[in-house]
Symmetry: C2
Subunit: 504 residues, 2 copies
């Protein structure tokens, strides 16, 4: 390998190590850190993010990229290089050009503030006290606006934030996609609402947490999540984080009276974990060993959680096992009844516990509020009322308190403005991938019904996971499905599934 390229790989490798180190500190904060340690933790993370920023924006990287022919306009470097190296240079150029636009002070201040914010958010959610969280949210909105503007989107800073999660994705495109999606979802919801409710009372019977945990771990391992290169812990909000090439951790939360919530969170996070554990060894330790976008990432988690995890074949395998684990709770419940219960459509308060139909409306709500908060047309002061009004308008639900309203998600406290749309895009990507997968794997349903997940995982590994950031999201979609992202696959999938369940 030429010396310039080797040096760039070394520099990038050190950045990965530092980034993973910061992620370890974040993971520890969410899982095991003593409460009072938050102040110093915020300083530790600010220091690390500052050091990382210095390295990611060093003049040496810029010079080496130029020397290798990777600059504005020709981001992929010398055509004579091996394809993986051209992909490396393209991704490095993208990161370098974005990172150099951010002032160092903004990076460290952002890191410091989000640590404190997340800690305050936990307390505020517990006490349902928005006033406690408000000054922190205001600060993060302000810092996020600065980030978006620094990226070169001074007029529409939210576009700058969106670009971090789904490259090339802006408000104009999302307005169109979400506008159409909303119409389709509302039509479907109307059909469902006209039918009798499905029975799901047994899901809120007490399921002891130890049993829930054992079952969830079994499912995660069965679908292919490698506990030898990961682990599962408990946090206020479930997440997946990569702390090293062989260290991809997931988290969940359990509630004795809501067994579905904990289980589907584990499957969701394991879906993220499968992506992160599935990169080619060839890109190990480099910036290419990462999800290509959060939309594609969420396509993996939502695929395993819903398309597979809430399917009838899946439960024809697992329901007898679940019934063995919880014989008294499920004594009077049959497979079909259970399947309908975990797919019951009911407009409700909490996004992570919502069904596949109303889920998109939760995202559209958040998207609207984010756009307005960052755009400056909604004040933090007015945000809870705006949330509650949007819940009424989109879902017909009254929000009783901020804990089950604007305080329910950790994302804003963590500085993740621009992330929420990824969930909805993930649903769309996932359904589109699934349509192709069904054609490629005619035995898919019977495999799943026998607890064989390696064909579907192998299909995803081969077409999506192993590339990491080597392919852009649009490119992945074209290569895997033969066309660009379209909402109709998701809408068709939902209509077919719920027509069966609700019989309209």
């Amino acid at each position: 390998m030429n010396q310039h390229l080797k040096r760039l790989h070394d520099l990038d490798g050190e950045c990965r190590l530092l980034a993973h180190t910061a992620d370890i500190l974040n993971w520890d904060q969410e899982t095991y850190m003593p409460e009072k340690a938050v102040e110093e933790r915020s300083e530790q993370l600010a220091l690390l993010q500052g050091l990382l920023h210095d390295r990611q924006t060093s003049a040496e990287i810029g010079d080496l990229l130029s020397a290798l022919g990777s600059t504005q306009g020709t981001p992929a470097g010398d055509p004579g290089l091996p394809p993986v190296e051209r992909d490396f240079l393209r991704a490095l150029w993208r990161d370098y050009s974005k990172n150099t636009k951010l002032p160092r002070d903004l990076v460290t201040e952002f890191a410091r503030e989000t640590v404190v914010s997340q800690s305050v958010w936990q307390e505020a959610r517990k006490r349902s006290d928005f006033a406690l969280f408000k000054p922190h949210l205001a600060r993060i909105v302000e810092l996020s606006r600065q980030v978006g503007a620094a990226y070169g989107f001074a007029d529409r800073p939210y576009d700058g934030l969106l670009d971090d999660y789904e490259p090339g994705n802006g408000q104009e495109k999302l307005d169109a996609v979400f506008g159409a999606l909303r119409t389709d979802l509302v039509v479907l919801l109307g059909k469902i609402s006209s039918r009798p409710r499905v029975r799901d009372d047994f899901l809120s019977r007490p399921f002891p947490i130890a049993g829930q945990d054992a079952f969830a771990r079994r499912v995660a391992a069965d679908i292919g999540y490698d506990f030898g290169r990961g682990r599962l812990d408990l946090t206020a909000h479930p997440f997946t984080t990569t702390l090293g090439s062989d260290d991809v951790r997931i988290t969940t939360r359990y509630d004795e009276r809501a067994m579905a919530g904990g289980l589907f969170s584990v499957i969701h996070e394991a879906g993220h974990g499968l992506y992160e554990q599935g990169f080619d060894p060839e890109i190990r330790g480099s910036l290419l060993a990462d999800g290509t976008s959060m939309g594609i990432h969420e396509s993996q988690s939502r695929f395993w959680e819903n398309v597979i995890g809430r399917s009838l074949p899946f439960w024809s395998h697992y329901f007898p096992i679940l019934k063995d684990a919880f014989p008294s709770q499920l004594a009077d419940v049959g497979l079909e009844e259970f399947y309908r219960a975990i797919n019951a459509v009911t407009p409700s308060l909490i996004r992570t516990e919502s069904d596949e139909v109303t889920y998109g409306l939760h995202i559209i709500l958040r998207y609207r509020l984010e756009k307005e908060l960052i755009g400056g047309t909604l004040s933090v002061e007015d945000a809870p009322a705006a949330w509650n009004a949007a819940m009424r308008e989109l879902l017909g639900v009254e929000v009783p308190d901020d804990a089950s309203g604007i305080l329910q998600d950790v994302h804003w406290a963590g500085g993740l403005f621009g992330y929420f749309p990824s969930y909805a895009l993930g649903n769309l990507y996932g359904a589109q991938f699934y349509a192709t997968m069904r054609r490629d794997l005619p035995a898919l349903d019977s495999d799943v019904a026998s607890g064989r997940f390696s064909p579907s995982l192998g299909w995803l590994r081969d077409r999506i996971h192993r590339f990491g950031r080597r392919c852009e999201p649009g490119e992945i979609c074209e290569r895997v499905t033969g066309g660009p992202l379209e909402a109709r696959f998701f809408v068709d999938y939902l209509n077919a599934k719920y027509r069966d369940i609700y019989g309209f």
Copy 2:
């Protein structure tokens, strides 16, 4: 504050943050890290230790120290500075002059190797397979020798290592102290051996681990360990680590059939934790907020574990509580009988489970082997045989396998050559402090017997903890006890205690 001093505090503060970050990675490795993640973890730690070394040895620190009048020969800076600042400069000068002697590559290689080594040691201990650990031990001996030599002790590199744990302490002094101590211990052991054995069979009855854990946590909290600024986890080898000013964590291991081992480990580590949680706010976040030596640190842990934790007043308070928690296991056991059992003197294989009399002999064994390994008169190849021969000679015990022999302790795998003597010094310091404490606190026994630990903790806080590194160990000893360290306090303490128990 003058600008030079302020800048030094900022630089030092960043070093503390980086050092704590590295400690978080180490803690995670020992507690929760997936096994396969060890390779990247070693790279993360090597990078962090390299960054820390760069900062600790920067020319700027040297220049600022000189400008402030803190150089070789005048380490305490301008006499016009406030005392705490002079202490800061003295300690910083000491660290700077030591760190600048170490080549960067040696620092990073040491960090990388010890991560891998500790992981291999765990496996080797589990399988009792010294051959697996041997190449790593050889490498660490070699690297430690280089460290000792780099510190300027090329002729006797072990002296250089000892100086890290107990400033100014070398082989000459330890040979004398340990020589005399050995004689006294052997005499005492002879007297004890001539008496009937005390009954302690009930300690190996099954004590469910959940109950052990609850009891141990209660005791740790009672003596003053603040769980709001710390936590207790399980590891292969118990330890205490400070991850932030408000984040001092302890670990233990439990064995259903050895309830004393888990409990006294918790009290021991909580003793370390009390020291680390007790520094003055004035020195928060600076290098002064650290134990002044490992000997003083071990004086705190061994004091709580043994002097308090294995005393009759302590158990006159706790035995009824323990009996409530384990009624069937302790049905036929009385307080005095329990007290004698947890103080039973029996030459045995495992240091951490040994009694107060034979403990010192375990240390003398390790001291002898370390001296020879680093000095080059004992090869790693021959070390297990030398261990076993020394066990026979010093304790009259046959070692059945390396897991209960040379592989029992994590220290060498962690690169801590020179640490073991601290335990014995800790016993000596602890007994000497205790002699003064008894004079100062006439109600000590009745306080302990009522579960009131704040007088003794307050006494330690006031005289030892709060100063951190502001006082050198010798200075602490003089100020607290009115004289230099002497072994006779410990020997007197042991003789009095065991005369009572064994009736000689």
